[in-house]
Structure formats: C-alpha cells, structure tokens
C-alpha cells in the first residue's frame, strides 16, 4: 500500500490498478482516483510552481476550483495545458506534466523571483514599462526587450501547436427542468421534478453523482450518505424522463433560459470509443432551472498560507473519505468556523493524527469541543496561524494568540510540528450561474458571504447555493425546488432523515491574519494581501479596477477561492463594509471550455460542399474543380501536360470553332408563380416582363433600392402565371431574400409565391457553330431549327428518354442553348449530349473558358456588378424602362449616379502582349516609382484565343469617352507596368451575328 493510502474507505476500486506518469515518473493509482488523489496517495506534495514568484505549490482543493495544481496532459503530440489535477481522472497510459518551471518542478531556476518580492508587486508591468527606464530602452522598447524573458518566466502552461485529432460534438437539448449539481439538494430536486413527470436533465461536473454525499461521512435514512445518493441515482437512471450528465460542467447561463454545458465524454478513457467525441457541448433550453451548485470553501489569508501541505479542510476530508487518501500524518487545522471540526473527525477516523485545531474564535461551543475531543486534537481557541515552515512540503507552523475583534496578535508564537495544515475561512455559495443570469449578488452578514440574487430568469436555488449549508436543509430545499420547477404543488412529505455532526453555519468575520510574510489571496495569480492594500494606497476604489490592477480573480480559476477574501481586505483598507465595496459580476464560462467543443462538428469541416448533378462525371473525366462559394465547379478539363491557360484557351477556341458544353446547374433558379407573377417581375426587373410571351425568355436586370445594379439573368415564361427566374450563382440566395422581402413586407397583396428550384434542374449550356446540329442529333419530340427555337425561345422535348426544356440563349456569344432536365437525370442527359457531340468535335469546358468567352463578349458578372456600379456604368441603360417604375428607379438618377466621371465598363488590350492582372490599376501616366492617379481598375482578364491578345474588362473613369485612347496598367504589388489601349467591352462579334445565327 502507498504511504498515504488508507487500507479501507473511499469510493475507489483498490482491486483495479491504473498506471500513469507524472513528469516522466511512473505512478500507479486506482480506478476512481483523480490525478491529484493518486499522487497524494504516493506522498507527492509538490504539484506546481506559482505564476509569478515560482513558489512551490501543493494541492489546495479537491475540485474544480483548484488554483495551484495545474498540469498539462499529453495525448500523443497534442498537449492540453492548465487542467486542475483535481479534475483529471486517471487512466492507463495517462501522461501528465507539471508547468511553469525550468528545468524541473523540484529545481526551478525562476524561483529566484521570490527574492524580487516588492518589485514584482501589483502593477509591476504598468510601472516598469511605461516611461523612461534604462538609457535608450524606454517604455515600449524596454517592454519589447523584456517581453521574451518575462513570458518565459511568468505564466501557466504552454499550448501546443499539433493538430488536434479529437472529435467534438454539439448537442441541442430541451427539458422542463435542468438541475445543476447533484449533491443532496440536486438529487432531491431531480427526483421531485421527475416524479411530477417533467423532462429532467441532471448535470454534475464530477464523474460521480452525489456531491458532498460522497465524502461527508453523514448518514441519510440510516445509510451512509453516499449509498443514499447511489440509490437515488439508480432510481433516476431507470426513468425515461431523466437524462443524467456526469462529467458535465454547466458553464454559461444565457437569455431565455439557454444554458451551455461541457461534457467531458472520453477524457477519462485511454482511447475513446469508435465515433465517440472527446467533448460534447450541450446547448440546453430549459423551461426551468434548479441551481444546486453548492459552495466553495474559502482559504484564510496568513503568511505562508500557500506552502505545499496547506490545504482546505473539506478537501482533506474529501481525499480521506472519497479517495481513501490522507493528506498528512500529523495534521493541524486553522479555522474561523465549525465546518473544519467535521474534517478533523473524518481525518482522525481515517487514521491521521490531528495535533491541533486553531480557531480564531475565543469561545467555542460544547459541540465543537466534543468533536475536537473525538479527533483527539488540542484546541487553541482565540489563536491564529502566523507562519508556516518547510520547503517543498510543510514541516510545521506557528500559532499566536489572536484577538478577532481588532486583529491583534498577542504574546509569543508557539511552534507546532505538522506535515499538513488544513484551513477553513468559511464558505462562498457557488453563485456564478445565477450571477451570469443577470442579477447582483447580495451580501449576507451572518454567512459572511455573497448569496444568490433574486431570480431574473426561471431558476430556483437549493442547498448550499442559497447559503443553507446543512444536508437536512439541502434535502428540503432541493425537493421544494424540484417540485416548483416542474410546476407541482408543494405537499407535506416525509423527508429523508439526516444524521450529521452539529455545526453553526456562520463563520467569524475573519479573513486575514496580518503578520510578517507573504499572505496569499489569489494563489493562481500570486496576488498577496499586500498587493490589495497597495492598490488601495495607489487610489484604486472600484472592485472592478482592483481586479484588473492586481489580477485578483483572473486566470483559469476566476477567483473561485480568492474573490471574497480579496474584497474583504479591500473593504477593510477602504474603511467600508463589504456590501458597499461590492463584488464583480461573474461571466461565462464558469470553468475553462475547449475551443474544439465550441467549433463542434465544424471543426476541420467549416462548410458543406454543394455539388451539381454532374459532379462525379466531371471528376471522372479529368476536371480540376474550383470552389465557387459552397459550389464546386469544373475549372478546366486539362489534358496531360497542359497548363491552366493552355487548357482554357483550347476549350474556348474549340467552342468557337465547333462546340462546347458547360455545366450551368449552379445558376440560381427561382420559380415565380401566381396570378401577379408578371406584375411582380415588372417591379423587380428594370425591364418589362409582363409582355413576355409564354415559351420565351428575356434577359433582365435588377437594381437595389438605392439604384445601384444588383443582379442579372434570364427569366423564362413557362406559363401565363409561371416564370422560371435565373440568377447569378453567387447571388441566388440574396435574390431569393430580396424577392421574399418585397413580397412579405412591401407588397403582401400580390399573389406570388417564390420557391428555390435551383436544385430541381440540371443545366447544360451547349454553344458553338455546331451546337444546333448536336441538339438536332439527340433531341426528340421537338425541332430545334430557327423557326421552332428562335433566339430566346423555349421548347420542350426529350433527350435519351428524359424530358428536357431547352432555351436558346447565349453567354459565350455563340449560337447556344441551355438544356434543363430534372437534376436526377442530369448526368444521363449530359452524357447523351457529349456522345451526340463527339462527331462534331464537342468539348467540355470549365469556368476559365466560360470566363474567357464572356470577357471576349463583354458580358458582366459579379466582378462588374460589384455593388458600386449602376446600369449606366455597365452600358445597360437600354434596359431601364421608362414606361413603369421598378425597384431602384426612384434613386437611380441621383446626381452622383449619373456623373460623367463615374467608373464605366471598358475593354482593355495589352499593348506589350503581356498578361494583365485582376485588380491592377489603370493610370494615364505611368510612374513606377510613385504610382498614383488611378483612373480605374481591371475587373477580369484573360488571354483571348479569338483575338490572340491579352485582354481585360475594366471600370475606368469616364470610360466610354476614353475608348480608342491609350493608358497604362500600374500594378506595383506584382511589379507589372505596361501600355494598354482602352476599347469597347464588346471585343468579339459585337453585332451578335454568331449568336443570332
């Protein structure tokens, strides 16, 4: 048996040995142990080094509030720092290391910082790094010089940079009653609510439900409290309306009773199960919440209170009763309240020698004297600990007579030999979630604690959370809270009978013993009582400022054990009562949350993929895919050895010479249906649609309300009241929202329905001189000649047995047709078209060739309709109807939108025969050393196989008037300067003879 492990007792499984390492040394523990309890059982006293002074630190607590024993857990290459050893469940293969030390935990070179005492006091950084310091190293420069060394010397653990392979998930949960905390109050609340038929969730951050029942040594209904808790949990486990969440920290309380929780699903396992996440983030929407989160014991502030071996009293009780571990062999206690006496008795029972109990109170109750006698401890009433001794472990302490009315120390100090000192400075209810929920905590003078505020949301408190520290009260309050939360009536009931040691819940109002030496208030951030007083002397009054100046209550433990002692010391310095000083508002998270859990399923997979019906065909036929928003589209169908430019030039050239086919399924498609559909489109588009004949399509332009261009596309009239609107791929969602907004808000009287049918149709655009012949070879049920299918005409027919709609329209400038089929038949039709095109030299082409041909034709896309251009800027003013109003018509003629020097669409030809770049500026006079005077910029560029030149579209000031003139491209970022000619944007076939046939 290990040196500190008791032979019996505790909730650990002594038959199951677990092997792990700490700082490279092998250790063993038992199932049920935490890293803290397992190391403590092996006699380890040193767990970490403090933040600033690198003082040796041991365990202060046994739970989530632990400020000292922070470790880094390694899983393969992944390291997770700053985890309290008290919250790490050991498993075979666990690898943990200490942090903030060099070269080792036992011999830390930065321990020399302890000599810097006063220099490293509160405000060290502000005072040292602002203003002149040493010679040329002033202010910020001095900081920059020192920063590297300071960051190495001060801090917590180091984050890793290896990719985290773990899995994280998010769960959405709904319940009638969420119970937070599973001590006796929480268990009773859950049971009472469940008995009412409510849907109940019970969450506890510990792996074992029961809270204090697991270590209190009390009996409930004649059985050990832990057994009672097991029985209640077993009952809850059997209920369909109860969800139990162990290892789950409820860390955030938001509006509308939405709470956030983190479940540590597999941290305690050597390997997670297949598909099992490491952490699960629960977003819980609860009709009502029972807060049964208990209370944190407070340390006392006295010199040497941070020495390894000084621990909170209840933590020692918990180590003894829950883990079968004694924190020392000769134990002394120092308290201002009765609860420590229970710990003394528990430790005596577990086998330790309790050598002394120092109590600041001069008078002790007979019950406490009886408990001290039971523990065989010598009582020192009206005494205080004024010093501790030892290095990396406690060897003794000094007591002195103490007058709690004025804080005076009287007489000589007396030494006591002990290897463990337990302290209890009273209890602070864990009100964090209630504080997050909105209201301000209230100071209770009797309890010397901030109690939960009045609820501003649907929550009810129970047990120690409310300041009711006895188990009997917790059980009664828990049941009442559970009933009320579930909407039940409180009825008389026989409650479980608790047998517990007696105790007054109210502590003496003593927080600090002022004696020589460093007395720590915030253990994690090395804030001393003197730092708090220094802040006061330097003029800090507000508790919020105190926190930020001293860093009291910051870091991973967020001051769970230090807030109230710190406030008390500040209040004394200010000469004000504690309630006047107030407390800081708690913010989420209650305890650290893994970033992975917040990302959840998006971790490593930020966005979904949107695929066209022919996606797999494209991949199988050599397409290089291109991400366009969420869509994936073929960029090129490259041949072996081809560059991207060679591929798109070949594809565009072949299309103009014979025929090409491109997947246009991504175009937004919206069904606009109803008796008022035509009238609606007249309002939405700048041009007229009510005059469009059934079976015809028309190119349309939309403006925003401010008169700027919004989107363009063709709309097909399929029936008298049935239109198929197409939009650009990028703007499909925006146009849909735009239409819905106007129908829902502006013109609700219009009988029009709009539905996204983008995914209903597969689209293939086939263009080129041979396109009509290819269609004729494979389309049945309709002719495709010029008479039957004129420009902008629509016919219905079949291809390879599949119904299709064909519209003759062109983006490439060639004789072209868009063939729409049901998406599920998309590949079938596509393959039939490709097969039919083989004798005609049909090529498949991607976005690059598509873009090239549209630049050659001077058609606009999102690069030109960029939210700043008007219809006139893009030479689309011919589409602005004068016969009707439309969205944007009232604003489009504003002075600024019709100015002559606006950026207008032009074409550019590179005169040095070198490529042009998108985004490059156009200047009248080139000055490479001092590029300025931009008259516009390039929006799209390519090598034009039709012209044999590098060309571009651009927006240029007064562009139309500049056609035929020369200017320069100026692109200093890419070091590209060169002459260009400004021309019409219609480079190729400006009269449209190819398209119209």
């Amino acid at each position: 048996m290990s040196p500190r492990r008791t032979d019996t007792g505790g909730r650990i499984d002594r038959l199951k040995t677990i092997r792990f390492t700490f700082d490279g040394a092998p250790y063993t523990g038992h199932a049920g142990d935490t890293l803290a309890s397992a190391l403590l059982a092996k006699g380890v006293t040193l767990y970490g080094r403090s933040f600033k002074y690198h003082r040796p630190r041991g365990l202060l607590t046994a739970g989530v509030e632990e400020p000292n024993a922070l470790v880094t857990v390694l899983k393969g290459e992944v390291r997770e720092p700053n985890i309290p050893a008290t919250m790490v469940e050991i498993h075979d293969g666990l690898v943990a290391i200490s942090q903030n030390r060099f070269p080792s935990l036992a011999w830390d070179i930065n321990a020399v910082n302890q000599l810097g005492g006063k220099v490293l006091s509160a405000g060290f950084y502000y005072k040292t790094f602002m203003g002149p310091v040493f010679g040329p190293l002033k202010g910020t420069r001095f900081w920059m010089f020192c920063e590297h060394f300071i960051r190495r010397a001060a801090g917590l653990g180091s984050a890793g940079s290896a990719k985290d392979p773990a899995r994280y998930e998010r769960m959405n949960a709904f319940c009638d009653v969420l119970v937070v905390g599973s001590g006796p109050a929480g268990l009773m609340a859950a049971k009472a609510a469940a008995d009412q038929g409510a849907r109940v969730m019970l969450a506890d951050l510990e792996p074992r439900f029961g809270g204090s029942a697991n270590w209190s040594d009390e009996t409930i209904d004649g059985a050990p409290a832990a057994d009672w808790a097991r029985r209640i949990v077993a009952q809850l486990e059997g209920r369909d309306n109860v969800r139990l969440l162990p290892r789950t920290t409820v860390w955030g309380y938001y509006d509308n009773n939405t709470l956030a929780a983190l479940e540590r699903v597999s941290d305690h396992k050597e390997q997670p199960g297949k598909g099992e996440p490491r952490h699960r983030y629960w977003a819980i929407r609860a009709k009502s919440v029972v807060l049964a989160t208990g209370a944190f014991e407070r340390p006392l502030v006295f010199p040497g209170n941070d020495r390894p071996g000084v621990m909170l009293a209840h933590a020692a009780e918990r180590y003894a009763n829950e883990f079968g571990v004694l924190p020392g062999e000769r134990i002394a206690l120092f308290t201002n309240n009765d609860s420590a006496y229970r710990a003394a008795v528990a430790l005596k029972k577990a086998g330790a020698a309790v050598v002394a109990i120092a109590d600041v109170r001069p008078e002790l109750s007979p019950e406490m004297r009886k408990l001290a006698a039971e523990a065989e401890a010598e009582i020192f009433a009206g005494h205080a600990v004024v010093a501790t001794e030892g290095g990396k472990a406690l060897s003794g302490l000094k007591l002195q007579r103490f007058d709690m009315t004025n804080g005076a120390l009287i007489g000589d100090a007396r030494s006591i030999h002990a290897d463990c000192l337990l302290m209890s400075g009273g209890w602070s209810p864990t009100i964090h979630l209630a504080s997050q929920a909105g209201a301000k905590a209230e100071w209770n003078a009797a309890r010397q604690a901030f109690l939960p505020p009045k609820p501003t949301q649907q929550w009810i408190g129970a047990g120690a959370f409310t300041g009711s520290f006895s188990t009997t009260e917790a059980i009664a309050e828990g049941r009442a809270a559970g009933l009320a939360a579930a909407g039940g009536q409180s009825t008389p009931a026989v409650l479980p009978v608790v047998e517990a040691v007696p105790g007054d819940p109210d502590p003496a109002p003593v927080f600090e013993i002022r004696a020589k030496g460093k007395s720590f208030v915030d253990f994690q951030h090395d804030v001393t009582a003197e730092d708090v007083r220094l802040a006061h002397r330097e003029g800090f009054v507000s508790v919020e400022h105190l926190k930020r100046y001293t860093t009291l209550g910051m870091a991973t433990d967020q001051g769970k054990s230090s807030n109230v002692p710190g406030l008390a010391i500040m209040a004394e310095a200010l000469g004000k009562p504690i309630p006047e000083v107030g407390t800081t508002r708690f913010r989420p998270p209650f305890a650290p949350v893994s970033i992975g859990s917040l990302a959840a399923e998006r971790f490593g997979d930020l966005k979904p993929e949107r695929l066209t019906p022919m996606h797999d065909w494209h991949l199988a036929n050599g397409a290089t895919m291109y991400s366009a928003g969420l869509w994936y589209r073929p960029m090129i169908y490259g041949h072996a050895g081809e560059t991207v430019e060679q591929a798109y030039v070949r594809e565009a050239k072949a299309t103009r010479e014979s025929a090409g086919i491109v997947d246009v399924s991504t175009l937004g498609k919206i069904a606009v249906q109803g008796p008022d559909a035509a009238a609606f489109l007249d309002r939405v588009y700048t041009n007229m649609f009510s005059t469009l004949a059934v079976g015809k399509a028309r190119y349309g332009l939309m403006l925003r309300e401010d008169g700027l261009a919004f989107d363009d596309g063709t709309t097909w009239r399929l029936g008298e009241q049935d239109f198929l609107m197409t939009t650009t791929t990028a703007n499909a969602g925006k146009v849909m929202q735009h239409l819905e907004y106007f129908l829902d808000v502006i013109w609700p009287e219009l009988k029009v329905h709009v539905t996204s049918v983008t995914d209903e149709w597969a689209g293939a655009a086939i263009g080129g001189p041979k396109a009509r012949q290819i269609l004729a070879a494979c389309v049945t049920g309709t002719a495709v000649d010029n008479a039957t299918l004129p420009f902008m005409g629509i016919v219905r027919g079949e291809i390879a047995g599949v119904p299709v709609m064909i519209c003759r329209l062109s983006f490439s400038g060639e004789m072209a047709f868009e063939v729409y089929s049901g998406a599920g038949h998309g590949t079938h039709v596509w393959e039939a078209l490709v097969e039919a095109g083989k004798p005609f030299g049909l090529v498949t082409y991607g976005l690059e060739a598509l873009g090239t041909m549209r630049i050659e034709k001077g058609h606009v896309t999102g690069a030109e309709i960029d939210g700043r251009t008007t219809a006139r800027d893009l030479h689309l003013d011919w589409m602005l109807s004068k016969k009707k109003p439309f969205i944007g018509s009232a604003m489009m003629d504003r002075e600024g939108l019709i100015a002559s020097d606006r950026l207008e669409l032009v074409g550019l030809i590179s005169l040095d025969n070198k490529p042009l770049n998108g985004g490059a500026h156009i200047v009248e006079e080139v000055d490479e050393a001092n590029p300025h005077g931009s008259i516009g910029h390039i929006t799209a560029c390519c090598y034009s196989p039709a012209l044999g030149k590098h060309i571009a579209l651009a927006l240029v000031k007064g562009g139309k008037a500049r056609q035929g003139t020369r200017a320069h491209v100026s692109d200093p970022l890419r070091n590209r300067f060169g002459p260009i000619e400004i021309v019409s944007n219609h480079f190729f076939d400006p009269d449209g003879s190819r398209m119209h046939g």
Binding site: E169, R170, M171, N172, A173, F174, R199, G273, K274, G275, E276, P277, A283, R285, E601, R602, D605, K607, P608, E609, R610, L611, T612, P613, D616, L630, W631, S665, A671, Q673, G674, P675, Q721, K751, H753, T755, S756, V757, T758, D759, E760, W761, A762, A800, G801, V802, G822, A823, G824, H825, G826, T827, H828
Partner: protein, 195 residues
C-alpha cells in the same frame, strides 16, 4: 423511364458501420419518393388547399401549424403558413395537383428532383438529430406526422416525423451528399446501418 441518379451514390455504403458495442441503433436510408411537391395557398385559401390535398393524396391533415400525416406511401406536412410538402412513392403527383389546385387557391411546385429524402430511424434517431438541429425532437413536442423547417450547417431542411423513432429529412439535392456524410459521421458513435 430512366432511373433517377441519387446524389448520395458514391457515399452510400450499404451495411453496418460505426460502434456496435450496443448493437446498431440507427438505420439510414434514402427513401427516393417518386414525387416531392410543394403546394402553397394564398392567404384565406388554406382550407381549400387542405381539401385539395385530401382529394389528390387521400391524406387528411390535422389542425395546427406544422401538422402532418403519413400513410407509409404518401405523406404531407406543413412547413410554413399555408405551405405544405407532399411526397408520394409514385411519380406524377405534381401533375395531379395541378389539375386540382387552381390559380385561385394557390400554386404547385414540383421538387421531385430538387430535394433528397433521407430517412433516419432507430432508438438513437432523436440523439443523432439533436447533434444537428436546435429543435425539440421529443415525441410530445414533435408528434408523429408533424413537420419542421430548420437548418444545419448552412443547409436548409424539412423534417417529418414518420414514426416514434423515425424521421424523414428533405434536403436540397446539391447539399444532400454533404449532409449525408455528416449524418453518417454523427451516427458512428451509436452504430448505424445503411439500407
């Protein structure tokens, strides 16, 4: 008739997958209805549309928002005020509705190709769906037959509960494979079978 191609094909792996410690707790399949149709009424014409649904599909809708019903072959549910999704194993439902739903009542939109219907069933169906959607899947809150419109991961979906532990999810076809992969991934933990 040419068979419709499923967007799930390359990722549709029939068989059992994931963690079988507790057996297979999820069944995933694509129901592939022949028809998926949206019918929508003008304000005030809802009852006539509901009557038309009964005439065409033989399904009597219950009162209330999001109400729905399924007979195993055909199913219908409301997904927005006055708007319903109707599915049928057979093709041709849109044409049948077009004959009954006059322009005075509302509109008919054929989405048979545009939506992919994925069925998730099994004792852990609610558990897996809770990973995706912030809606309450418990039976009292989401009764059999009822439908919901919601989103996950930028993907809009409609969900109908077609059994105590069975849900049919209608997702845009272009997103279907991505959603399917996510659904399989989320089901690994409890073991799933693709049928």
């Amino acid at each position: 008739m040419v068979e419709r191609q499923s967007p799930l094909e390359p990722e549709f792996h029939v068989g059992s997958h994931g963690n079988f410690e507790h057996g297979v707790e999820i069944l995933l399949t694509e129901t592939r209805p022949g028809s998926i149709v949206q019918v929508a009424a003008w304000p005030g014409e809802e009852k006539k549309l509901i009557s038309a649904i009964r005439t065409v599909a033989g399904l009597a809708l219950p009162d209330g928002a999001g109400g729905g019903v399924s007979d195993g072959v055909k199913s219908v549910f409301g997904f927005a005020p006055g708007k319903f999704t109707v599915a049928d194993e057979a093709e041709g439902l849109a044409a049948a509705f077009a004959r009954v739903v006059t322009p005075a009542i509302g509109t008919v939109t054929d989405l048979s190709h545009g939506r992919t219907a994925i069925r998730i069933a099994g004792p852990k169906a609610e558990w897996v769906l809770a990973k995706f959607f912030a809606i309450d899947f418990a039976l009292p809150a989401f009764p059999i037959g009822a439908g919901r419109s919601t989103t996950h991961h930028d993907i809009f979906v409609q969900i109908q509960r077609t059994g105590a532990d069975q849900f049919d999810i209608y997702v845009f076809r272009s997103f279907a494979r991505s959603f399917w992969k996510a659904l399989c991934h989320a089901s690994e933990e409890v073991g799933y079978e693709v049928q």
